[in-house]
C-alpha cells in the first residue's frame, strides 16, 4: 500500500534546506576549507572535503536537498548551488515560479554560452604550452593540480598529493596518448593504487609497474626472457564439465582418468615452461596439482584475481586468455606476453605482486602507493586523485573535436557524469539536446521547403553552439520554438540519446555528418534527419544564392572553430571565473531589453559572487573580498589585465558545467509545487524513484 503525504513545495522550505547545507559545505570550500569527519554505519571513519560525499553521509531526508546532492556530486564547489538559492530570496515577491524557471532555462540555454564565448573567452588561458601540439608543461599542470587539491585534501597534504598526481601523470602518459589513457586510468583507478595504513602520508610514492593486491601462491624467482599467460579457468582438466555426465564403470577407468588428468596437467605446464612462460595469472583458484607443477617448472602463480584486475592487465598488454589446448600439440602458444619482471613487493610487512608489464597501449603502467595513518585519510586521498583525473579527462576531452560538437559533447558528458556518479540516480536533463530536439520537431511538423529547413537547422546550431551569432540572430527567428513549455518530456526521452551521442562524437566526422549520425540513432526519425543532411549539403556545395543572409552564418561558424573554448581552457583561481562572469552578466543586463532577462542575469551575477566571498572570508586588508572585487572590476573597465593574488589555475570547463547543472537544478526546484512523501521502499528502477521525488 502506498501511503503518501503531500506538502506544499514552497520555495521557502527549499531556501531553508539550502541555507543549512550551505553552512556545512561552505566550511570545506577553498584553500582555507577544513575537514569533515564522517562515520559509516559500520563504524568506519571517513575524512572528506567533498561536497557530494558529505551530503551523502548526511542521509538527507528533504527531497530538495537530495536534488541538490545529485548535482554537487562531481564538482568542486557545491556551495554555488546553495548560494544561488539563497540569492533567490530577493525575488520572493514574484509568485509565478514557473515563469521564472523558464526564464532561467532560457538564460542557461541561450545567454550563458554567449557571454562565455563573447566576453569571458578573452580572459581564458590555455593549459597547453603550445596550442597546436597540445603539449603540457609541468609547471602549468602543477598549478592546476595544486589548486584542485587545495580544495580537496587536508591542507598539510595538498602540496604533496598534487606533486604525486603530477608525477603520476607524467610517468604514465604522454600528452599524445589521448583520451583512451584517461579512460583506462579512470576505469581502473581502484586497481592502480594500493593503500597502506600506519605509515606517514609522506611515504606515499609511485612505483613503476603494476602492483596487485595479492600475494604469489607460488613464487619462483626468474630472470631473462620472461613471458606470462592469463587463464580464466582451471588448467587441470576435470572429470566432468557442467551439463555433462561422467560414468565410471570400473576402478581401473577411474585410475586411468586420474592418471590422464595428471599427465595432461604436467604436460601443459611443461609446455608453458618450454615457451619461457614464467608467470601464470589466474582469475580462479587453481588446484594443488597445477600449483605444484608450476613450481616444478619454475612458473610463479598469482590466483584469484578479480575480473577488474584481469581486464586491466588485458587492456595494458592486449593479451587474451590462454586456453589449454584440447588436442595437445607442441606448437607455440599464441597468447603469451613478455614481462620485464615479476617479484614480490613488501609494503609494511604485507606482500604484494609487483609486475613489470610491457604496455602495448599508450598507458605506461605505474601504481600509486598511498600511505596514511588511518584508512579514512587514504580513502580521501584516493578519492581526490580520482577526482583530479576526471577533471583532467574533461579538460582534455575536446582535444580532437571541433567546436560545434564540442559544445554538444560537453552537455552530453555532463549528463553522463551525473548519471554515473549520483547514487540517487538523478538525471539532469540535457539542455542542449532538449533544445535541439524541439526545433526539429517543429521542422518536421511544419514541413516547410528545403531551404527553410536548412535555415532553421543552422539557426538552431548557432543558438546552441555559437552563441555569439545567436545574440544577434536568435531572437528574430526562433523565439517561439525555444520557449520550453514542456521540455520535461522531451528531455526524458533524450537521456539515453545523449549517452550515445557522446560516444559518437569521438569520431572525427565533420559537423553535419556527425549530427546526422546522432539523430539517426533515434530510429523513428531517420528519414527526416537524412533529408535534412542532404539539404544542408546541397546548400553548402553550391546553391547559396537564395539565402544570402545565411552565408555569414556559415562563415562565422567556421571561423569560431578555433577561437572558441578549446580543450584545456583555464583561469587563475581565487574566484576569477565568478567575478568575470558577474561583471559581464551585469553588463549584459544593462543592455538587455527584456525585463525578465535582466532580472535573471542580475540574480545569477550576484549569486556568483557568493563563491569568492567565501574564498576570501579569512583574508583581511588588501586581500579582503571588497578590495579584490573593486580591483578586478576596475581592471576590467580599463581593459587592464586582471592580477590575481593567488597562484593556481582551474578548469573553465568544470566551472561551466557546474554552472549549467546548478541552473538546471534551480529550474527544477522552482517548478515544483508539491512534495509528496512516499513511505515505501524504492522500487527497483531507480530512475522512477527520482522522478517520484521531483
Amino acid at each position: 500500500m502506498l501511503s503518501s503525504m503531500a506538502a506544499a513545495g514552497s520555495v521557502k522550505a527549499a531556501l531553508q534546506v539550502a541555507e543549512v547545507l550551505e553552512a556545512i559545505v561552505s566550511c570545506c570550500v577553498g584553500p582555507e576549507g577544513r575537514q569533515v569527519l564522517c562515520t559509516k554505519p559500520t563504524g568506519e571513519v571517513l575524512l572528506s572535503r567533498n561536497g557530494g560525499r558529505l551530503l551523502e553521509a548526511l542521509h538527507l531526508e528533504h527531497p530538495i536537498a537530495r536534488g541538490l546532492h545529485a548535482i554537487t556530486d562531481r564538482e568542486k564547489d557545491p556551495l554555488m548551488c546553495e548560494n544561488i538559492q539563497t540569492h533567490g530570496r530577493h525575488w520572493k515577491n514574484c509568485s509565478r515560479w514557473k515563469f521564472i524557471s523558464q526564464a532561467l532555462l532560457t538564460f542557461q540555454t541561450q545567454i550563458l554560452d554567449g557571454i562565455m564565448d563573447q566576453y569571458l573567452s578573452r580572459h581564458f588561458l590555455s593549459i597547453f604550452s603550445s596550442a597546436k601540439e597540445r603539449t603540457l608543461c609541468r609547471s602549468s599542470l602543477e598549478l592546476l593540480l595544486e589548486a584542485y587539491f587545495c580544495g580537496r585534501v587536508g591542507r598539510n597534504n595538498h602540496k604533496f598529493i598534487s606533486q604525486l598526481m603530477c608525477d603520476y601523470f607524467f610517468k604514465c602518459m604522454t600528452c599524445k596518448s589521448g583520451i583512451g589513457v584517461f579512460e583506462l586510468v579512470d576505469d581502473h583507478f581502484v586497481e592502480l593504487n594500493v593503500g597502506v595504513t600506519g605509515l606517514p602520508v609522506s611515504d606515499s610514492r609511485i612505483i613503476a609497474g603494476l602492483v596487485l593486491q595479492k600475494d604469489f601462491s607460488v613464487y619462483r624467482p626468474a630472470d631473462g626472457d620472461m613471458r606470462m599467460v592469463i587463464v580464466t579457468e582451471t588448467i587441470q582438466p576435470l572429470f566432468s564439465t557442467s551439463g555433462s555426465e561422467f560414468i565410471l564403470n570400473s576402478e581401473a577407468q577411474f585410475q586411468t582418468s586420474q592418471f590422464w588428468i595428471m599427465e595432461k596437467t604436467k604436460a601443459i605446464m611443461k609446455h608453458l615452461h618450454s615457451q619461457n612462460v614464467k608467470l601464470l595469472i589466474s582469475s580462479v583458484k587453481q588446484p594443488d596439482l597445477v600449483s605444484y607443477y608450476a613450481g616444478v617448472n619454475g612458473i610463479s602463480v598469482v590466483e584469484c584475481l578479480s575480473s577488474e584486475e584481469v581486464s586491466l592487465i588485458r587492456r595494458i598488454i592486449g593479451l587474451s586468455p590462454f586456453v589449454p589446448p584440447q588436442a595437445f600439440s607442441q606448437c607455440e602458444i599464441p597468447n603469451t606476453a613478455l614481462v620485464k619482471f615479476c617479484k614480490p613487493l613488501i609494503l609494511r610487512s604485507k606482500r604484494y605482486v609487483h609486475l613489470g608489464l610491457i604496455s602495448t597501449c599508450a598507458f605506461i603502467p605505474h601504481s600509486i602507493v598511498l600511505c596514511g595513518p588511518v584508512h579514512g585519510l587514504i580513502e580521501q586521498h584516493e578519492d581526490a586523485l580520482h577526482g583530479a583525473l576526471k577533471m583532467l579527462r574533461q579538460l582534455f576531452k575536446d582535444l580532437d573535436l571541433n567546436y560545434m560538437t564540442q559544445t554538444n559533447d560537453q552537455n552530453g558528458t555532463s549528463s553522463l557524469f551525473i548519471y554515473k556518479n549520483s547514487g540517487e540516480s538523478y538525471q539532469a536533463p540535457d539542455p542542449g539536446n532538449g533544445s535541439i530536439q524541439r526545433p526539429y520537431q517543429d521542422t518536421v511538423a511544419e514541413n516547410k521547403d528545403a531551404l527553410e529547413k536548412t535555415q532553421t537547422y543552422l539557426k538552431v546550431h548557432s543558438n546552441l553552439v555559437i552563441p555569439d551569432v545567436e545574440l544577434e540572430t536568435y531572437i528574430p527567428y526562433s523565439t517561439p520554438t525555444l520557449t520550453p513549455t514542456d521540455t520535461f518530456q522531451t528531455v526524458e526521452t533524450l537521456t539515453c540519446l545523449s549517452l550515445e551521442r557522446n560516444r559518437l562524437t569521438d569520431y572525427y566526422e565533420p559537423l553535419l555528418k556527425n549530427n546526422s549520425t546522432a539523430y539517426s540513432t533515434r530510429g523513428n526519425r531517420i528519414e527526416i534527419s537524412y533529408e535534412n543532411l542532404q539539404v544542408t549539403n546541397i546548400t553548402r556545395k553550391g546553391s547559396m544564392l537564395p539565402v544570402s543572409c545565411k552565408l555569414p552564418n556559415m562563415g562565422t561558424s567556421q571561423s569560431y572553430l578555433s577561437s572558441s573554448m578549446p580543450a584545456g581552457c583555464v583561469l587563475p583561481v581565487g574566484g576569477n571565473f565568478e567575478i568575470l562572469l558577474h561583471y559581464y552578466l551585469l553588463n549584459y543586463a544593462k543592455k538587455c531589453h527584456q525585463s525578465e532577462e535582466t532580472m535573471v542575469s542580475m540574480i545569477i551575477a550576484n549569486a556568483l559572487l557568493g563563491i569568492p566571498k567565501v574564498l576570501y572570508k579569512s583574508k583581511t586588508g588588501k586581500y579582503s573580498f571588497p578590495h579584490t572585487y573593486i580591483r578586478a572590476v576596475h581592471a576590467l573597465q580599463t581593459n587592464q589585465p586582471l592580477v590575481s593574488s593567488q597562484t593556481g589555475l582551474e578548469s573553465v570547463m568544470g566551472k561551466y558545467q557546474l554552472l549549467t547543472s546548478v541552473l538546471q537544478c534551480l529550474t527544477k526546484i522552482l517548478t515544483i509545487d508539491m512534495v509528496i512523501t512516499v513511505k515505501r521502499h524504492p522500487q527497483k528502477v531507480h530512475n522512477q524513484d527520482s522522478e517520484d521525488e521531483l
Binding site: I24, C27, C28, E32, Q35, V36, L37, C38, T39, P41, G43, V45, L47, A57, L58, H59, E61, G154, R155, N156, T197, G198, L199, P200, S202, L238, F239, S240, T241, S242, G243, S244, E245, F246, I247, L248, N249, S250, E251, F254, Q255, F259, M262, E263, K266, D288, L289, Y292, Y293, G295, V296, R348, S349, G372, P373, V374, H375, L377, S618, K679
Partner: protein, 570 residues
C-alpha cells in the same frame, strides 16, 4: 525477508573539538595512556563483561585493541595509533601521548587551524631532518659486530613493559634469548639482498621464565603416544624430506561441475587407496625418510610408510608450511602421481624433545634461518604480554638492521629535541617561516606548545611523584625521587641521566623541566668511548620513533582540522 526501514538522518556537529564531551573523552584517553608509560607505568586490567579472560597490560597494542571507543574523533586517534603499532610494533604509547598533548596544548592557544597546522608541519620536518642528520646529538650508531648495543635495545623494550613481570635476572635471560633468536634468522652467507628467516614463538605456559630457550629449526607439537610410535632413525647423513600440501586422505573432491556417475560395484575408495599406496612405493624407492603433510594422511598409507621406516607426520597446518618449506628447501607437493625428484628437501636430523609437559618433534636444519623460541611464563596473561614484547623486540631488531641507528631512550631524546627546537625557533625563525604568512609570534607560541607536548611525554615517565630535570648542556633528562631531601646538591641527588650516557660528575647546570629557561644549544658531541663502555644504556628504535613522531603530528593536525563531525546513526 528482512524488514525494510527508512534510513535515519545522520547527526551533524560543528566544531567538535570545542565541546565538553570530546574534551573529557580525550582527557580520559590521555590519562589511560600516560599512566601506562614507561618502566614504572601502571598496569591496566581489561575485562569484558560478556566473557573472555582478563587482560593485564600496559602495552598500547593490547590496550587499544581491547578498548571500545565510540566517538569518531577518538576512533581516528586510536586507529592511527593501532596502525602505527602494527607496522612498527614499538612507540605506540609515545605516539598516543604526544598526539593528545599536542591537541590539548594547541587548543589552549586559540590560533586558527590553518596557522597551527602549517607551523606544526614545519616543526615536524625540523625534528625529522635533525634526527636524520649527521649532527644529531641524540642518536648513536648501532654496531652489529658486538652484542652490547643490541642487548641494550632489547633490554630497554623488556623493561618498559612491566606487565611481563620479569625479574632483573629474567630480563637478562630473555633479552639474550631474543637476540639469539634474531641472529639465528640472519642467513650466514648472504650477499647483497638478504632475506631474513623467521623466529617461531612456541608457547609453554605455566613454566618459569628462566626455562625459556631458543632452538634452531622447527618444533612440531605432538602427543606422547604419537611420539612413542615414531621409530628412531639411525642415519649419519641428512634426512630426505617430502612435504605435501595436498590431502593424502584419499578423498576425491574435485570432480568438476558436472555429475559423476559411479556404477554399482565400483569402489572409488579402493581405487584411491591403490593410488596412495603407489605413491608410498614411489616415496620408498626415492629413499625418503620423512613425510610431512599439511592435511590428513590416510591411516593405511601412514601404516605402510611406517612399515618401511619412514616417519609420517600429518596435520601440520598452514602456518608451519612456509617455515618448513624454507627450512627443508622442499617444494610442497600437490600431486598424488609422479613426484619430481627435485621437490624433496632435507633436514640434518630429527629428535624428540620434552619441555615442561609438552612433547615435541624437533626438526634440526642443515643451515637455515628458522628457529623456535620456546617462551615460558607463569600464567596466560603474563605470557601473552611477554609474547607481544618478544615480537616487538624482534621487529625492532629487524628495523634496526635496516637503519643501523638507535635513539637515546629514557626520555633524553625528547628533552634534547625540545631544547633543539627552542633554540632553533629563537635564533633562526626566518629559516622556518620562509615565505609563509605566519608571524614570528605565532611561531613562538606553536613551538612552545610543541616542545611542552614533547616534554609532557617524558613527564609521564614519572609516576611516583618525583621531579624531572633537564641539564643545560646536553638537554638530557634527569629524575629525582619524590622522597629525596630538599635541593642541597644536585650532583649528589642525580646519579645518571635517563638514558645512562652521562653521570652527574660533570660540571652541569640543571633546571626543572617545566620551568622557563632561556634557549640553549644542546651539545651533541659525546665521546665515542662513552658509548662503547656504557653497557647499560637505555635505547629506542629510531625508525619506530621517527614514524611515531610523524604519525602523532599528522593525526593531531588531522583532528585539529575538523570542522564538522557527521555521525551515521543507522
Amino acid at each position: 525477508m528482512s524488514r525494510l526501514e527508512a534510513k535515519k538522518p545522520s547527526l551533524c556537529k560543528s566544531e567538535p573539538l570545542t565541546t565538553e564531551r570530546v574534551r573529557t573523552t580525550l582527557s580520559v584517553l590521555k590519562r589511560i595512556v600516560t599512566s601506562c608509560y614507561g618502566p614504572s607505568g601502571r598496569l591496566k586490567q581489561l575485562h569484558n563483561g560478556f566473557g573472555g579472560y582478563v587482560c593485564t597490560t600496559s602495552q598500547s597494542s593490547a590496550l587499544l585493541s581491547h578498548l571500545l571507543v565510540t566517538h569518531p574523533i577518538l576512533k581516528i586517534l586510536t586507529a592511527s595509533i593501532q596502525n602505527h603499532v602494527s607496522s612498527f610494533s614499538d612507540c605506540g604509547l609515545f605516539t598516543a601521548i604526544l598526539c593528545c598533548n599536542l591537541i590539548e596544548n594547541v587548543q589552549r592557544l586559540g590560533l586558527t587551524p590553518t596557522t597551527v597546522i602549517r607551523l606544526n608541519k614545519h616543526l615536524l620536518s625540523l625534528c625529522i631532518s635533525y634526527l636524520k642528520s649527521e649532527t644529531c646529538g641524540c642518536r648513536i650508531p648501532v654496531d652489529f659486530s658486538s652484542t652490547q648495543i643490541l642487548l641494550c635495545l632489547v633490554r630497554s623494550i623488556l623493561t618498559s613493559k612491566p606487565a611481563c613481570m620479569l625479574t632483573r635476572k629474567e630480563t637478562e635471560h630473555v633479552s639474550a634469548l631474543i637476540l639469539r633468536a634474531f641472529l639465528l634468522t640472519i642467513p650466514e652467507n648472504a650477499e647483497g639482498h638478504i632475506i631474513l628467516g623467521k623466529s617461531l614463538i612456541v608457547p609453554l605456559k605455566g613454566q618459569r621464565v628462566i626455562d625459556s630457550t631458543v632452538l634452531p629449526g622447527i618444533l612440531i607439537e605432538m602427543s606422547e603416544v604419537q611420539l612413542m610410535r615414531l621409530l628412531p632413525i639411525k642415519k649419519s647423513t641428512a634426512l630426505k624430506v617430502a612435504l605435501f600440501c595436498t590431502t593424502l586422505s584419499g578423498d576425491t573432491s574435485d570432480t568438476g561441475e558436472g555429475t559423476v556417475v559411479v556404477s554399482y560395484g565400483v569402489s572409488l575408495e579402493n581405487a584411491v587407496s591403490d593410488q596412495l599406496l603407489n605413491l608410498g612405493r614411489q616415496l620408498i624407492s626415492d629413499h625418503v625418510d620423512l613425510v610431512l603433510c599439511q592435511k590428513v594422511i590416510h591411516p593405511s598409507l601412514k601404516q605402510f610408510l611406517n612399515m618401511h621406516r619412514i616417519i609420517a607426520i600429518d596435520r601440520i597446518g598452514v602456518t608451519l608450511m612456509e617455515p618448513l618449506t624454507k627450512m627443508t628447501g622442499t617444494q610442497p607437493i600437490g600431486s598424488l602421481g609422479s613426484i619430481c625428484p627435485n621437490s624433496y628437501g632435507s633436514v640434518k636430523d630429527v629428535c624428540t624433545a620434552k619441555f615442561g609437559s609438552k612433547h615435541f618433534f624437533h626438526l634440526i636444519p642443515n643451515e637455515a634461518t628458522i628457529c623456535s623460541l620456546l617462551l615460558c611464563n607463569r600464567n596466560d596473561t603474563a605470557w601473552d604480554e611477554l609474547k607481544l614484547t618478544c615480537q616487538t623486540a624482534l621487529h625492532v631488531l629487524q628495523l634496526t638492521l635496516k637503519e643501523p641507528w638507535a635513539l637515546l631512550g629514557g626520555g633524553c631524546t625528547e628533552t634534547h629535541l625540545a631544547a633543539y627546537i627552542r633554540h632553533k625557533t629563537h635564533n633562526d625563525p626566518e629559516s622556518i617561516l620562509k615565505d609563509d604568512e605566519c608571524t614570528q609570534t605565532e611561531l613562538q607560541l606553536i613551538a612552545e606548545a610543541f616542545c611542552s607536548a614533547l616534554e609532557s611525554v617524558v613527564g609521564s615517565l614519572e609516576h611516583d611523584g618525583g621531579e624531572i630535570l633537564t641539564d643545560m648542556k646536553y638537554g638530557h633528562l634527569w629524575s629525582v625521587h619524590a622522597d629525596s631531601p630538599c635541593v642541597a646538591n644536585w650532583p649528589d641527588l642525580l646519579s645518571q641521566c635517563g638514558c645512562g650516557l652521562y653521570n652527574s660528575q660533570e660540571e652541569l647546570n640543571w633546571s626543572f623541566l617545566r620551568s622557563t629557561c632561556r634557549p640553549f644549544v644542546p651539545q651533541s658531541c659525546f665521546p665515542h668511548e662513552a658509548v662503547v663502555s656504557a653497557s647499560n644504556l637505555t635505547l629506542d628504535c629510531l625508525t619506530a620513533k621517527l614514524s611515531g613522531l610523524q604519525v602523532a603530528v599528522e593525526t593531531a593536525n588531522l583532528i585539529l582540522d575538523l570542522s564538522y563531525v557527521i555521525e551515521d546513526k543507522n
